[in-house]
Point group: C2
Chain length 330, copies 2
């Protein structure tokens, strides 16, 4: 079957509610800065009641990544579950408006579209509390074989190890991907996700994945060490291609026995780090899909991350393709 997409992503379809806060607010609400925790609908209402006015915008880690791929001029598809409600309509609109294929049937009669309540401190760091809602209903039936078989790269988010049905969807996608000879990739998503699902995540990486994306905290959590070099080496030993991000310290990309240190792009002012890892993944995967060198793949990721942290919201506000051309990367 001919290739149609650069990247097909499977993820939680989440609307972000982004509001400013201060560190005292996080402390008062008992929230761990920079983390993501799962909350139920009642907790979401309680927390929302204490939050400042927000903006609502389509989010979700893998959804943000395919939005980035599309902004680079890549072709992308998304598999995720929204409910038959207003925020679900917004989510579907925002995907289709950027040309991302999105054909999941909205859930009816179940929980509402997922929301992530994101509190952003003045230093730009984000702390997320996510009510998974309808996105937990994503299951194997939502995996369209044609989307998987016709994509160069399949991309999964570690967050989807939380809803049980999604793991069966992953298994189906992995089988289809392998049979079609596609590249399977995953992001570890969050250090607490790694803590909750370390063994199955590690087994999935070792048996199913060609490409792994992680940040420093996640790779340390995965291998239960505070030694970044040791943790990185442990990941490198288990993967064909991996990219590990370190915030303003840049990233390390490893493939084919060689490591590349990629500097972060300078940012005038960090406004909101929401989506930084997701956009790094977008640039990196687009580079891989286009067969670029590992160094260029990492730079594309760094460029996309730098754009998204300069404004509120987890998706690019300008054409990443134009930025990358200006930098001579594509």
């Amino acid at each position: 079957m001919p290739e149609l997409y650069d990247v097909a992503a499977i993820g939680n379809a989440i609307v972000d509610v982004i509001a400013p806060c201060d560190d005292a607010f996080l402390a008062a609400q008992g929230l761990v800065k920079n983390s993501m925790q799962l909350i139920d609908e009642g907790q979401a209402e309680e927390l929302y009641g204490h939050m400042a006015p927000g903006i609502e915008t389509s989010g979700g880690s893998a959804g943000n990544t395919v939005a980035g791929v599309a902004s680079f001029g890549g072709r992308a598809a998304f598999l995720g579950k929204v409910a038959d409600d207003q925020l679900g309509e917004v989510y579907e609109h925002d995907m289709k408006a950027i040309g991302v294929a999105f054909d999941s049937r909205p859930l009816t009669g179940g929980p509402r579209t997922a929301r992530s309540l994101i509190n952003v401190t003045p230093d730009g760091h984000r702390t997320m509390c996510t009510f998974l809602g309808a996105s937990t209903e994503l299951g194997p039936d939502d995996i369209d074989p044609a989307m998987i078989e016709r994509s160069k790269i399949i991309f999964l988010e570690g967050y989807l190890f939380d809803p049980p049905e999604a793991r069966r969807a992953f298994a189906k996608a992995a089988g289809l991907s392998r049979a079609a000879g596609r590249l399977m990739s995953i992001t570890l998503s969050d250090s607490f996700v790694v803590e909750r699902h370390r063994d199955v995540l590690l087994a999935f990486i070792e048996t199913e994945c060609d490409i792994v994306l992680a940040n420093e905290a996640e790779v340390k959590a995965m291998f239960q060490t505070d030694d970044f070099e040791a943790a990185s080496q442990a990941l490198i030993d288990r993967t064909r291609i991996c990219a590990i991000t370190r915030g303003e310290a840049g990233s390390v990309v490893h493939a084919g026995g060689a490591s590349h240190v990629i500097p972060a792009y300078p940012v005038e002012k960090v406004v909101d780090t929401t989506g930084a890892g997701d956009q790094y993944a977008a640039g990196f995967l687009l580079g891989v899909a286009r067969g670029r060198s590992m160094d260029v793949c990492g730079r594309l990721g760094a460029l996309a991350a730098a754009e998204v942290i300069g404004h509120y919201g987890p998706r690019p506000q300008v054409s990443l393709e134009a930025l990358a051309k200006a930098e001579g990367l594509i």
Copy 2:
């Protein structure tokens, strides 16, 4: 009855959907740049289907103004109608989160919460298409006498001359305001609103209003002339206090036989002019409520307008009180 609020506003409770576009998009959709037009739900779906991904944020002209008043440290109340849906919940949350009194019962079983589809061109200018939805159901029963009687200033938006029931709400509010000896104020909102309702708007201004806010296009439309001086004089002749905004050319404030020319505050980059007039009104009315000179009232308005056009979204993202203190205005 003792005063409780600086400003009580009556307006359309609208969630803004803000997306970037170019001038060719406006032309293709047959939209007049910088205008507001009313659309029905079908037209809203059609236009939304062509728009880029957006952010959703609470808006509505008078609602934006009370958000600005609250940001200045003022006490405010809002009267407007949302539906019993997700966007209605967002609207109510955002009002209460900034301490604005908002007790309107959500509409059940009727149209959905109002949405304004706002397309923003690279020069920062906004073009609005508004589906009024549930906000058209605002009527006299939604006017809480205690809110009106306990507010220094009542503020109405000209946009509310479109839904017929709202005019009866205005009449009730005007009667309560006069009986309680409060100041009645209005913004003309939009030149097409003025065209549609010129005679009743003018009659309302002449008989009920103490303070009128308008921009250059609206005052010219009101008095059917292209001569700004003549149009301004015609408004001055009919009002106790008026403020006329002229974009980057600043504003003219008139009261007690004296005119004051107020310069615009410099803005590094105009990102999105949505809410500029609303925030000017916030600063101006807060100044009046605090008994400041006309010159200071105008400068407070200009300061608030400058903040809001520097980012996407119609409400302040930083404390206007802090900005005003830094400028020595409060």
